[in-house]
Each structure stands twice: as C-alpha cells, then as structure tokens.
C-alpha cells in the first residue's frame, strides 16, 4: 500500500472540462449542463469501483452522455425552447474589427451548424473534433461498434458540409 492509491477525485477531476463540454453541446444550455456534470460526478462517485482498470475519461464521458440523453428525453419540449435562448460566448478580441466580425460570424455559423445536428451526430463531432477521441474511445463512450462511429461521423460531416456551403469560408 502506498500513495499510488489515487483517490477518485484525482482521477476524475481532470475530466471535468470535457464532461462539461459534452453536456453543454448535448443539452445546449449552461445551467442544465452544469447540473448534468454535477449529477454525473455523483453517479461516478457512487459507482467508482466499476471503472477500475478502464479508461477513466471514457467512463466519465459515457456517464455524462447517458445522463444528458436522459435529461433530453425528460425535457423534450424544453430542449426545443432552449435552442432559442442559447448563450453565445463573446468572440475573441482581434485588433481588426471588420475581420473580427467576419470571423465571429463564421464561427457562429459553424457553432449553429453543429448545434442543429441531431444529438447522435452532434455527439460524435464533439467527441472527435473537440475532444480528440479515437473511434475506439468514441465506440466505448456511446456503446456502439466502431463501424457505426465511422458511419455516423461520415453522415454528420456530410450534413455540416451542406449546412456550411462546403466549408468554403466567407471570402465570397
């Protein structure tokens, strides 16, 4: 017995940002996302021995994902409303205001496009493009085969390309 016995908190704490990001993208509301992360950490705490030997990030994200989907099922009507009152982060400060406007507009377009995807496509984009998970890790988080991960990513990206006009930017 030595200090290698790492507490639950030490293992799970680093995943809070990823947990929040996934929850926030799934429920599209700050407060609900916070509640879901809090709830998920509690669930993880209560079941902590079941993650021994497995990847703690994947484990945490799968709890968050299931908690968020439960929430969406329970608040079906509300999640439609929350689409309207999304909180937008302020754009980064760039010295050139014109460029800033163009960039933030495009940034918002990308954000909106992802936000409008169905949850099953949205989550693979978040996990792959924002969290950098491998197909294998995404497959574990979502409990689906790796082939399905690939086909969902393929479908999600095709939808985004259509929505964003081929991702050509705003140079026109």
């Amino acid at each position: 017995m030595d200090t290698k016995v790492r507490s639950f908190e030490l293992t799970m704490w680093p995943h809070m940002r990823a947990a929040y990001n996934l929850a926030r993208w799934l429920v599209r509301n700050d407060q609900d996302a916070e509640d879901i992360v809090q709830d998920s950490f509690l669930k993880a705490y209560k079941a902590q021995e079941s993650f021994r030997g497995s990847d703690s990030r994947v484990w945490m994200l799968s709890i968050v994902r299931n908690t968020a989907l439960d929430f969406l099922r329970r608040h079906k009507s509300r999640s439609v409303v929350s689409l309207e009152d999304q909180v937008h982060e302020p754009a980064d400060h760039t010295p050139d205001p014109e460029r800033e406007l163009l960039e933030s507009t495009r940034r918002e377009q990308v954000r909106e496009a992802i936000s409008h995807l169905e949850p099953e496509f949205r989550e693979v984009i978040v996990l792959r493009e924002m969290e950098g998970l491998s197909y294998k890790e995404i497959a574990s988080v979502l409990s689906i085969p790796m082939g399905t991960v690939m086909s969902r990513l393929s479908r999600a990206r095709s939808l985004l390309l259509v929505e964003l006009g081929g991702a050509k930017g705003v140079s026109a």
Binding site: S7, F8, Q38, F41, K46, E49, S154, R157, L161
Partner: protein, 249 residues
C-alpha cells in the same frame, strides 16, 4: 477501389484511423479520382474550420466548487453508500493494507517513541491517503483553499502556489494536532501525496529537521510561532525542497 468503397474510408483516413496499407490504398484512389479528392479536401477544410472555431465550452468556476462541496458532503455521510458493492476484493485489500500499515508503523517505531506528535502526523497522513479522505476543500487554486480555512481556524495558513515547482495543490482539510486545530494542505508531486500540516506553536524558530517513519519522511520546522510538518513518501531531497519553498513563500 470504387468511390463507394472509398466514401467512409475518407473519414477514417482523415481521422488517422487507418493502418499504413489502408492509408496507401485510399491515397491511391484519391490520386486517381477527382471527385473523391475534392470531397476529401472539403472534409479537411471542415475539420480545420471546426478546430479554428474553438467551440469547446468551459465550465464556470462555480461548478468546480459545487462538485467539491458535494464530495465533502458525501464524505461526511459515508454510510449512505456502504453497500456490498463497496466491499469488492480490491477495496477490501486496500483497506486491509492501510489497516496493517497504520497498526504496524507505530509498532515499528516503538523504539523511537520520543516523538508522539510526529508519529501522529504520519498516521494522519496515512489515513488521509485512503480514497476520499484527502481533502475537504478540493481545489487547485490557492485563492479557493486559503479562504476556506477562514472562520474554521483562528490563524491563516500559508497556501503557496507551487505548481511551477511540480507540487500541485490538491486542496485542504482541517485536522487536530496535539489537541490543537491544524490546517492540512495537500499537494501532489507526480504519484506522491505531500501533506503540509500547519498549527500555531509558540517558541523560537527551528530549522527544518527530517525524520524517517517506516518509509515516510517528516520534515518539521518552526517559523514565526507556527509549527510546520510536511509528510510524504517522496524522496527526502524533494521533501526538503518543498520545505524550502514553503518557508520562502
């Protein structure tokens, strides 16, 4: 390879999920097929756009505090979760190991019984190493940990930020040392936990003194009527470095 076959593989190629042979195959097709090459370029620029947009959401500072508070509450009522699940073999083995250690260490150092306080501190550190007992306030931010002690103890313990020196602040908790309220500030150095105990202690300043307790090291010093005890199983030289950092802060 047909375009139909290539379709989903474009994504696997983009995501670095193909082995060398698979990548070579798809690259061959991309060199021959303008439609697929254009599609691949579009996917690449979509990826770039999503990354450049930096759309990740960061949790507000309050969330960390809320979850930490939630954990403290759970810790205070451990029996709520004391189910048979908990008594899985690894948990039992770990608990037994701790028990053996906590019992054995005082026996091992019987010959060295001069320092009951030091022994008590090492025991306390060992108990704290059990999961969920390390900290009452869980935060890597000194400005969260320091105020947490206010109103709980009548002195203000130093909570230096030593992240740059590779001592990462984990949080703090309240302890009693020699019938005195004490602040325990917990740091992590790689896989090792370092507990710093601080308690008012009258007397002349005392230079750091290192003692060994069955594999654990205890560094004790007195400074400005405050007693400091740093305990860990890190290398003794690391513990001395830690002591110097705290003293100069």
């Amino acid at each position: 390879m047909t375009c139909r076959e290539a379709g989903p593989l474009l994504h696997a190629r983009l995501d670095n999920e193909l082995d060398m042979a698979g990548s070579a195959n798809i690259d061959l097709h991309l060199a021959e097929c303008r439609a697929c090459a254009a599609q691949y370029a579009a996917l690449e620029s979509l990826r770039k756009e999503i990354v450049a947009a930096d759309l990740g959401y960061a949790p507000g500072a309050a969330l960390e505090g809320k979850i930490a508070a939630q954990f403290s509450e759970e810790r205070r009522s451990p029996f709520r979760f004391w189910s048979w699940n908990w008594l899985s073999a690894p948990v039992m083995a770990a608990a037994l190991a701790v028990a053996v250690l906590v019992v054995a260490i005082p026996i091992l150092r019987k010959g060295n019984g001069a320092d009951a306080v030091g022994a008590g501190i090492v025991d306390n550190h060992l108990r704290a190493l059990q999961p969920m007992h390390q900290v009452d306030v869980l935060s890597t931010d000194q400005h969260t940990v320091k105020p947490w002690f206010q109103g709980k103890i009548n002195f203000s313990p130093p909570v230096p930020d030593l992240t740059k020196e590779d001592f990462v602040l984990l949080g703090g908790r309240l302890e009693v040392i020699h019938q005195q309220p004490a602040a325990a500030i917990v740091y992590r150095r790689r896989q090792h936990i370092v507990s710093l105990y601080v308690s008012p202690s009258q007397g002349a300043d005392l230079k750091p003194e290192l003692r060994d307790f069955g594999g654990y090291h205890l560094l004790h010093w007195l400074q400005n009527n405050m007693g400091y005890w740093a305990v860990s199983d890190v290398d003794p030289s690391d513990l001395r470095t830690f002591g110097d950092l705290v003293r100069s802060n």
